[in-house]
Symmetry: C4
Subunit: 279 residues, 4 copies
């Protein structure tokens, strides 16, 4: 693999450490990163458990600071080690990385900034790539391709299900009384979707004979239409399965572009498909 001469030595080294796993330091960095990503998510969970937070508040806060500082340094290192940092900053993972870093800083300025903590879980999506688990990457990319291909069909399906839910929910609101929990049409629609998807909490349940008869119809409908997305996805899967060998659908190259950090290059790529940079 040719290295670009335009990059200064230390930036090059940082790039190697962060984006590749060829050197011992790069491997250690990857393992520490994965460990801290998992830790950052576990911390968010533990902080929300009252008893644990009450007894170990200090420890949790310290760990949160460790995670935050490491993520901050990693973010800065990523920025300076690539040639077009703005591309990274505004990429999906660039935003995820940034948002995962800032909640602790923000908490001193802004209340309610914990909302950003939920975003952290997105970083878990990168673990396969960080650990270079090529096999799983291949499977994931196949699944993604099949789901992408069935996107439009599933959108149509969900749209029709929603219209059905609005109609059936309105009907149930007129049939059932307030006492059974059907206090408004939006709530009736909520109940309809709970029933149609066969979740069935039971917090709202029909009590009149007509309502129960109607609910039965909705359930059997729901039982039937669950077949539709399954059929769509199965057919797409089987198509992608066949095309697999011939079309090189799956790109499991784990290298990242030094310029824009784009990943998922062809195995025989010499230039980045995204910015044209030499790899």
């Amino acid at each position: 693999m040719k290295r670009q001469k335009t990059q200064s030595g230390w930036r090059n080294t940082i790039h190697e450490i962060i984006y590749e796993a060829d050197t011992p330091l790069g491997k250690i960095f990857d393992i520490v990163l994965v460990f801290l990503i998992v830790l950052s998510v576990v911390l968010v969970m533990l902080e929300s458990v009252k008893e644990i937070d009450a007894n170990h508040h200090k420890l949790l806060l310290t760990l949160e600071w460790v995670v935050t500082i490491f993520f901050s340094l990693e973010y800065i290192a990523r920025l300076i080690s690539i040639r077009r940092p703005w591309k990274y900053v505004f990429s999906f993972y660039g935003i995820v990385d940034f948002v995962s870093t800032i909640p602790l800083y923000l908490s001193y300025i802004l209340a309610g900034s914990q909302v950003l903590l939920a975003i952290r879980a997105f970083r878990l999506l990168r673990i396969f790539r960080i650990l270079k688990l090529v096999k799983f990457l291949g499977e994931a990319s196949q699944l993604k391709a099949a789901l992408k291909a069935s996107r439009a069909k599933i959108a149509v399906f969900i749209y029709v299900v929603l219209i059905l839910s609005v109609m059936l929910g309105t009907a149930m609101y007129l049939i059932e009384s307030d006492e059974a929990g059907f206090t408004s049409i939006p709530r009736s629609i909520y109940w309809t979707i709970v029933t149609l998807t066969t979740v069935g909490y039971g917090d709202i349940a029909p009590q009149t004979n007509l309502g129960q008869f109607f609910a039965t119809v909705i359930m059997i409908l729901g039982y039937g239409i669950i077949a539709v997305p399954t059929g769509i996805v199965t057919v797409e899967f089987s198509k992608h399965q066949k095309g697999k060998k011939g079309n090189h659908l799956v790109h499991t190259n784990t290298q990242a572009c030094p310029s824009c950090t784009a990943e998922g290059h062809r195995d025989d790529a010499t230039h980045c498909y995204n910015c044209g940079e030499l790899l």
Copy 2:
């Protein structure tokens, strides 16, 4: 596209505006229509929420009048701009359009006319066609074709499921007592369907050992038979998928016949498949 000379100019213009999206006015009309359809459905929902209705009754009523008047005008415009209005009046969408318009008028004469409000949601089905979303139309037409082809099989399946439910429900009524909620055979059948479709509200649940054992059998049965509609639909989908290229199953022409308003013509159609009128 040739225009018929037998139609007077202004009716022609109205037809262009309502049924096509080639002119600026036609496009504006389409967007306003979609907006008002969505608004009409949202209004029905909001009126049912007691707090919102109490505080904003006047606003909601005004908007309801706006929607009703627009829909009335649109209905009349549709009637006068086509040559065979009766065909439209008794078509599926003709009835939906009419019923979506009248609830407010009826409410002054008849109590309980809100039932008609549920029909309004049907108008949402047209949004793809109004907005000329050709891709989604194609997908929807494929889904429809596959479901149509599996109709008879699914009817047989549901029929057998219903017979099973009657038998199992009767058995559960004899096994379980009134206290557990199994107060009559219809209610037991309701419970059986709730269980067989894996909805499981929990408002009625078996309490004796025999009842719970029997319930277990029903659940595993339900778990197994959910495979049947899925299998049916998947096989149909895969057949339609293969036949797609050869048979031109999908017609995504968004033009409407000026005479009978039939839609879904072939891309290369010059005459309406329904009434033979020139397009």
Copy 3:
């Protein structure tokens, strides 16, 4: 169609009326029979609803007598109009017909004979054949063939699911306390199956952290293994779909053998596949 001369004229006529629909009388008989089968099932339901039974007890009892007498006469007519009555008596539908007839007679001798009422619903299975709905018969026979072919696989699947349920149920019994509803291992297994099949009543639900964690594992497991029966049935369906044309899998001949009443003969059959009698 040749008629056998060995049968006396009136028995022949009865056979024509009961088993075929070629004569006007035969058609009327079929329609009355279907109507009374449906009525007999509806009666069982209505009798179980306390309010209805209290107010209309006499009417229901009269109708029950009408149904019972008609079914008795029909049963006798079936017996005398075929040449090998014992074959019919001990066939599946022979037993169903007999059991559907006797509950009212038995109720004067034996308490608890209502259990037999559940069997009545089985007669509904014959409606397609009585009404000679050839298309649905064909679909039903395809479904049956596909399910029959996947029988062994589904048996293995259910066996493994039951073993899993025993193990997971035992584990949950040890983890959760009596208060949460896990009072014994059989009840824990009941809960496990309720969860694994995604029914989820909520009458029993884990309350400890470990129990909820374990429940999560069971749910995801259940979510995954629901794919197995679906996969099995889908593959069988697609095989039967392909083999359909070549193998004449579907026999939609609605004729019944005059000797043993076997049905489902090949379209070109001249002899009964069951007893060799001329058709």
Copy 4:
């Protein structure tokens, strides 16, 4: 079938009895073994039912001793009748057999040893092989092969579902209050999985409008993604179905290797695939 001369006569006989079903004694042993395996599992269940245990404690304990002694003898017999006992001891079924035997002995030394009882159910997995049900073995081995092939894809799927659950659970914790049951993020994640898998206990259910709206989104998501494992497994099944004839995927030889007890040899095998011993 050649027998090895290095084995003494009685060990040979024991091997024949335990591992094969060719001799009358071997058949009796197999039937007794299956009966006792089922009994051992039923005993564990009955002991946990308070009323039964209170009234029949002595009988249950006696039966437990019968099972334990038989299993102990069987375990020893297995050990001495094969040439490489350690291979058996550390094999999956070797461990299961050992753990199924010891709980009663342990209960005199250690409290809480009932945990091991759950392992007993694993022995039920062997019944097909003990009873030489070749057909079911074939089906089971096909199912296993298909599931094995889809393992990596399902792992990726479950991983993504878990990440989704963490994110959605965190969001729901921030939206809903403690009163609705969302007391901590782990509990919110528990609720999210209950909803996403369409189990829906109803012990925790959203009560605010925003929460219910969000729950609706999760349900429809769950309804959609259930299609993914189904699609994966179906495609694998259909592949294995096709490859069945050509590749001899299914090995239904019920013989066990006299040296290492490995099972599942090819029908035409003369040497163990595992240790090379003559069969």
